[in-house]
């Protein structure tokens, strides 16, 4: 019993990290029809920058802020300077450009921070374990779950309750009509891209103490984020949340129960969704 409860909480906490990534990825695609492969870079770059800052200043708060700021700046640069120059409506050039950034950031990170896996330190107050009924659970993981839920609620409120959210929803439905009704799609695009980048950076920073950061982590997390949006549907916040929980749990249980076949526990549901609903559980019409 305790084993299962532990695994479920572990899976949920991992799922929340995935949600931070998938939400940004999904949002960027929904508004701008860009599949941002550099999202994996945002994750590791956030973690690496935070690592350097915390080593220099001993302040995790400052590190988190710095990591997020740097990555957000990279995201804004990518959107305004690079992606804007590409022809609209063609998805492959955009994917390739963002993939180029993925390679560049990955190699530069290897150059600067080296190839040894590193972990971010946990904050003092969250280093204890907490007793939840019969199980003892690291409080940091609870923090991660809380952070993910907070982000989810925040994003949902933003989407449903605010003017910005209304504009995003309109742009997701139809960018042309949104533009016609006076929405500054250009500024909106930059804002959305920045938000997505920031979320991914936070994912890397919050996940740093748990998963560490190492060469190749960008590809691994990107792949999982893809599986999440394939299952949940590109462009849907609900889909990102449900998909992330599912993938987080499946990945965790897969690694715990059948480590040799861990990839298949994710692959099988993904294949099922592809066969039954190719655009995901909550995805937009094809």
């Amino acid at each position: 019993m305790t084993f299962w409860a532990f695994q479920v909480l572990n899976g949920v906490s991992f799922g929340m990290l995935l949600f931070l990534l998938a939400a940004g990825l999904s949002l960027i695609y929904g508004v701008m029809r860009i599949l941002n492969l550099a999202h994996g870079s945002y994750y590791v770059l956030g973690a690496y920058v935070a690592l350097s800052v915390v080593r220099a200043t001993e302040s995790l708060l400052l590190a988190a802020a710095a990591g997020t700021a740097v990555v957000t700046a990279v995201g804004i640069f990518m959107e305004r300077v690079l992606l804007r120059r590409l022809p609209r409506g063609e998805e492959l050039p955009q994917a390739l450009l963002t993939f180029g950034i993925l390679l560049i950031v990955g190699d530069v990170s290897l150059w600067i921070w080296g190839g040894t896996p590193q972990t971010l330190p946990r904050p003092e107050i969250l280093s204890q374990s907490v007793r939840l009924g019969p199980i003892v659970f690291p409080s940091y993981r609870l923090f991660v779950i809380g952070a993910g839920l907070a982000a989810g609620i925040g994003l949902w409120a933003l989407q449903e309750r605010t003017r910005l959210g209304a504009m995003v929803r309109a742009a997701i439905d139809d960018a042309e009509i949104a533009r016609a009704t006076g929405i500054d799609v250009s500024r909106l695009s930059t804002a959305v891209f920045a938000l997505g980048a920031a979320l991914a950076a936070l994912g890397g920073i919050i996940g740093g103490p748990l998963l560490g950061v190492y060469p190749g982590a960008d590809f691994e997390i990107l792949l999982l984020a893809f599986v999440v949006v394939i299952i949940g549907g590109l462009g849907s916040l609900k889909g990102a949340f449900v998909g992330a929980l599912l993938v987080g749990l499946l990945d965790n249980f897969g690694k715990a129960l059948f480590p040799e076949f861990a990839l298949f526990t994710i692959f099988a549901p993904m294949a099922l969704i592809l066969a039954v609903r190719p655009t995901g559980l909550f995805g937009a019409r094809p």
Binding site: E91, L234, E260, L263, F267, A271
Partner: protein, 309 residues
Amino acid sequence: MTRLGAAAGVVALSLLPLALTSYQLGLLTKMLIFGVFAMSLNLILGYAGLPSLGHAAYFGVGAYTVGLLAVKVVDHFWLDAAAGLLAAALTAALFGLLALRAHGSYLLMITLALSQVLWGIAFGWRWLTGGDDGLPGVPRPAAGLPFSLADGLRFYYLVLVVFALTAAALHVVVRSPFGRALVGIRENERRMEVLGYDTWLYKYVAFVLAGVVAGLAGVLFVYYNGFVSPVYLSIVFSATALIMVILGGAGTLLGPALGSAVIVFLENVISAHTERWLLVLGLIYVALTLFAPEGLLGLVARWTGRRAS
């Protein structure tokens, strides 16, 4: 490319070894093998308009199947090569069923994810594949010919023959009604459906065909290299194939082969001076998509067009 041009090209490639060192010949062999790989991707990307980030899957399956059989089971060229092609075909047949109901970015993600599953197997099942260390010790094929193919020159000619036959076969397919239909599907799939074409079926057949040819390249490669590792199932390798196609010119028959020659050459030169090959590759991606989306052949066409007008 006219028949005369093609013949001249084959003759040139046949004579070229006389001027090259054995190291350079090895490089040229690699260029031709990757040329076959890139041409296979071009069939679905350039002609049918299907963006795939997982084409390495079929290359890797072909390579690993031959490698595993040759090293662990029986070293018999025709048997092993046929098994490699069959494995690649079956993989493409399976993956095609899963991927082809999707379009655009979904297709990119799905092909990537599917190929990553295979990468994960190659990486994780050390007992089978040697994991990250790879699978060494694949001998040059003893193809039942009166001479050995272990010699670099002879192996080069084998590869050249396969390359030329593949190019010729693709040339026929691309100009067939099937091939023209693929182009129509790329330009406007909905229109094609309404004109009576079962577009999914066309895409599927093209996908499996491309997978088999990619597997062929993989088979050749593992014999050439004597060694295979998960790198050849990785996203970076799939994306490198994409860059080769786009660099050379998607939708032209030999453009991808040109692109592969350029990339193999660049990698060789740059890796000799720095470890930052991936950084350079990334910069090439960014530069290519921003400044030369039609590839080198497209650039040339634009310049000559400008001078003519």
